[in-house]
């Protein structure tokens, strides 16, 4: 008898799950077919208001986010349905765009950053587009003179520290990269492997920017001597090893983003006045990651793709971005949300490495770093 009841419960729960999945399945088919049938229409340039919406495909990395209302604005304005294709982390997504360039998967690619930019440009996957909105964007972000890749946002990779730990020990947080070599910070720092993690790579670039190609490996050897911990991914560094996160690890300093403390407040369980962590934004301690958008070569929707790029640079999207992706708008006219600004510190001077130098030396640095630090 008991068994029967259990059986029934089990089978009902499975059935429910099947129903649920069945409920989601039908949405898949019409969309896919809509995408295919809409494609030929899209080539007719600037048709007044075609009855069926056209489809624009945007390929991006896994961290992309946008709010429904802001996207709805764009879709309504151009009678378009935007389909997003998430393709893994930045490097993976970019590789997919490169390998599919003869028959592009999408019309637009968003999310290549300044550490990967050279790969995208060398492989020639973008069509140049000089958006009228570029005029509003500061020159420092515009790394591609031919405007194949247009800047959208930036974020700073900085040291984060556990405020409680430093308060209790009466210790001052580090104020420069060199400080990390001091004995009082021994065994406190956890960083990500630059070969497997994007903030890890950014931090390596920061050290190269500060100590130069001739000095950075010695600096890293000093960090190793000061009991540095290297892990492969940001998740392990932040949640497992860092004491300021809810993972409550053992190390009070971690390489993360300058927006992470704001995240901690916004995603707190109970509303908090002040974040439990803080970012070090002293001069030459952070590295600035800039993300770019580009129109993929071979698109059948050049017109719409241009509109999308314009949209990404315009204030509605630029103002939506910070709370969605926790990055900062490159367009100075975009206003930042107050909740966000309150807990945010932006570095005035980040460590600089010329894009051409990154392009030429990236692989060699990674190899040398691996030999010096991990072996």
């Amino acid at each position: 008898m008991n068994k029967r009841i259990l059986n029934k419960i089990l089978i009902t729960s499975i059935m429910l799950a099947m129903l649920l999945s069945a409920a989601c399945a039908p949405q898949a088919a019409p969309e896919a077919t809509a995408a295919q049938t809409a494609a030929p229409q899209a080539t007719t340039p600037g048709g007044e208001t075609p009855a069926a919406p056209r489809t624009l495909k945007v390929m991006t990395h896994d961290s992309f986010a946008i709010s429904e209302a802001v996207l709805a604005q764009f879709e309504a304005q151009y009678n378009v349905k935007v389909q997003f294709l998430k393709s893994g982390d930045t490097g993976t997504a970019l590789n997919k765009a490169i390998l599919s360039r003869n028959n592009p998967l999408a019309d637009v690619f968003y999310g290549v950053d300044n550490t990967f930019l050279s790969r995208a440009l060398d492989e020639d996957i973008f069509e140049a587009y000089t958006s009228p909105l570029l005029a509003e964007i500061p020159q420092e972000f515009r790394l591609d003179a031919q405007n194949r890749a247009l800047p959208v946002d930036y974020g700073d990779v900085c040291l984060n520290y556990d405020r409680k730990y430093f308060d209790e020990k009466g210790l001052t947080p580090p104020e420069s990269l060199k400080d990390l070599l001091k004995p009082e910070y021994k065994g406190l720092l956890v960083v990500e492997n630059p070969a497997t993690s994007s903030p890890g790579l950014a931090f390596l670039l920061a050290t190269i920017g500060v100590f130069g190609e001739e000095g950075y490996l010695d600096y890293w050897k000093g960090l190793v001597a000061n009991d540095l911990l290297v892990v492969n991914d940001w998740e392990t560094a932040y949640y497992t090893e860092f004491s300021g996160s809810s993972g409550k690890g053992p190390r009070p300093i971690v390489v993360s983003y300058n927006s992470s403390p704001a995240f901690e407040v916004i995603y707190a369980e109970t509303p908090m006045e002040e974040p439990p962590t803080a970012a070090v934004v002293a001069e030459n301690t952070c590295f600035r990651q800039i993300e770019f958008v580009g129109i993929l070569k071979g698109t059948q929707n050049r017109n719409l793709a241009e509109k999308w790029v314009d949209f990404m640079l315009s204030t509605p999207f630029q103002e939506d971005m910070p709370l969605q992706m926790f990055v900062f708008p490159v367009n100075p006219q975009a206003k930042l949300d107050e909740a966000f600004v309150k807990f945010l510190s932006i570095p005035t001077q980040t460590a600089q490495v010329a894009p051409e130098q990154i392009a030429a030396r990236r692989e060699q640095w990674l190899k040398d770093w691996t030999e010096a630090v991990l072996r």
Partner: protein
């Protein structure tokens, strides 16, 4: 007179039609994409086609990676077998309460995403884990005495954690149907227990043990997440190196050479296995479980069994318990120096799963993710069984035909293939109508089926092989058509194995984290994809939601496995 189902050595064998569907599937979704990406990658080599291979085989750092890959896989496989075999024995030979629950619990570990497993291990053995905290307070230590994360031990432990269920299921199932009269005969002839075990039982079990060992070895050989997250940056398997070369260094030719190396190794291993298993397999009369299983009577036996099961459950479920309990506990540190942590019970993480706080377009309620996961898993079961069954049948009944000899080793290859490589292969190969499937949600269950397929074939073949040809011949002589023979002889005899196969297909699909390999449609995330989404952002709520979703994933896996256990429609018992 009707043809006998068991075919003697002939030219092509009569089972060749059975190969059509499995080969068409593998050809289209495995060999074609793989060949395309390898060819495109190698063509990028400026120094010619052979240069990356020479580089791979002469570079000391790559050879070091290769040695480490083989070594950790061998050790992990041996330890998994040693750890799992007593469990297979207990599950096979004894009846005790809560057995299917135990089996279901041990299966959960198989599906959990690596990042979550790492977090769970960390809650126990990490620098701030329970064990270290207890030891530190007991012996008044300033530093955590146990270093677990970023060690070789962590890699091996996690591999045992993930794969023990394979031994329990494949060997346990086979064992549970072994005719006990064979061992009874040995014992009545004067053999003691150990002699019986070594000279009778183990040789009879060898086909199942080698099968489990091969699957586990290949899983460990291509280990990625465990090595990356728990092993840390000092350890790399070939699979990790392929990822590095592809994504970080963009050295596609070298990555292709490494992927090729990994494949060659898998193929060589499988060929050796096939040769061996053909020699090992012998027809046995499998017995219904109820004739085979006994109660534990002696207190010594009970004590031993309890100790072992305690250990098994300890390793396989403690991390799980840590995980689930953490999803209900809120840990907050306050700014005032006096208080340490505020700990309270909470359902916040589960509630938060249903709230779209930022009005995000990609918000997906957990019910949808569960539905998507379940839908993919069921599709994988159906695809996996309908493709795997004919292949296993052909292999078992016609193992000497050239078709079987040629294809048998190929069936394992998808398991030994780098996920990054194959994912890129889909992009370059499936790119023209009518098969522009690069961004299709269908690709996910297809990819899952590729991984599940070898498991299905391998769990079915030993059972199919052990059916005595005479049974079929007798049925045929009595006038049964081949279909009737299949329905009334084979199906009842392999019912259990079918369930094992279905369970593997289901769990592989549930746990597979395909997002990095495939182009994902953000509207249809699986539970593991959602877990990674939460874990990639800072904030207590994000962390909590990842744990809550992991607990939900564990729950659904357990439920599904209990349900599959109950579908025992065609057990030998009915025969």
């Amino acid at each position: 007179m009707k043809l006998l189902p068991h075919v003697p050595r002939t030219s092509i064998g009569k089972s060749w039609p059975l190969w059509l569907a499995p080969l068409a599937f593998l050809g289209l979704f495995y060999f074609y994409p793989l060949a395309s990406i390898l060819q495109i990658s190698l063509a990028r080599s400026q120094a010619g086609f052979m240069a990356p291979f020479i580089e791979a085989l002469t570079s000391p750092s790559i050879l070091r990676v290769l040695r480490f890959t083989v070594w950790q896989a061998t050790l992990s496989t041996l330890l998994t077998l040693i750890f799992g075999l007593p469990g297979a024995f207990l599950l096979a030979r004894y009846q005790f309460r809560g057995k299917s629950l135990l089996l279901a619990l041990t299966g959960i570990s198989f599906v959990l995403p690596t990042l979550v497993v790492a977090a769970a291990f960390n809650a126990i053995l990490g620098p701030r884990g329970w064990v270290n905290l207890i030891l530190m307070s007991l012996f008044d230590l300033g530093q955590p005495p146990i270093q677990f994360v970023n060690t070789f031990t962590a890699i091996i432990t996690a591999h045992v954690f993930y794969n023990t269920t394979i031994v329990l299921r494949i060997v346990g199932d086979f064992w549970s149907h072994l005719d006990p009269r064979l061992t009874q005969a040995a014992q009545s002839l004067g053999a003691n227990r150990w002699q019986t075990l070594i000279y009778v039982t183990l040789p009879l079990l060898l086909p199942a043990i080698t099968t489990a060992a091969l699957l586990i070895f290949i899983f460990n050989f291509t280990s990625f997440g465990v090595v990356l997250v728990l092993g840390g940056p000092r350890f790399a398997t070939l699979e990790v190196e392929i990822y590095n070369q592809t994504i970080s260094l963009f050295n596609l030719p070298l990555a292709a050479a490494l992927a090729f190396l990994q494949l060659t190794f898998t193929l060589a291993l499988t060929i050796a296995y096939t040769r061996l298993s053909n020699r090992l397999a012998r027809p046995l009369s499998l017995r219904p479980r109820r004739y085979v299983q006994r109660q534990l009577t002696s207190w010594r036996g009970r004590l031993l069994a309890a100790t072992y099961l305690g250990l098994l459950l300890g390793l396989l479920t403690l991390p799980l318990i840590a995980l689930v309990s953490r999803s209900f506990i809120s840990v907050e540190s306050r700014a005032e120096p006096a208080s340490i942590f505020n700990i309270r019970l909470t359902l916040d993480y589960y509630r938060e799963l249903h709230i779209n706080r930022r009005d995000s377009l990609f918000f997906v309620p957990p019910t949808t993710a569960i539905g998507v996961s379940m839908g993919y898993a069921l599709t994988t079961v159906i695809l996996g069984l309908s493709l795997g069954l004919p292949a296993a049948w052909a292999l078992a009944n016609d193992s000497d035909s050239p078709m079987s000899r040629a294809f048998d080793p190929l069936l394992m290859l998808p398991l030994g293939t780098s996920a990054v490589t194959l994912g890129l292969g889909f992009i370059v190969a499936l790119d023209h109508p009518p098969m522009d499937w690069r961004a299709s949600p269908l690709l996910t269950p297809l990819a899952h089926t590729l991984v599940a397929f070898p498991f299905v074939v391998r769990s079915l073949t030993p059972a199919l092989r052990s059916i005595r040809p005479r049974l079929r011949q007798a049925a045929a002589v009595l006038g049964a058509s081949p279909i009737q023979v299949a329905r009334h002889i084979d199906l009842p005899l392999i019912g259990r194995a079918l369930l094992v196969a279905a369970t593997f297909a289901f769990t592989i699909s549930l746990g597979e984290f395909g997002a990095t390999a495939l182009v994902a449609r953000p509207e249809y995330p699986t539970i593991p994809v959602m877990i990674y989404r939460f874990l990639s952002q800072p904030g207590a709520l994000n962390y909590g939601q990842a744990l809550a979703l992991s607990a939900i994933l564990a729950l659904f896996t357990a439920l599904a496995m209990l349900a599959i256990e109950r579908f025992r429609i065609a057990d030998i018992g009915e025969f």
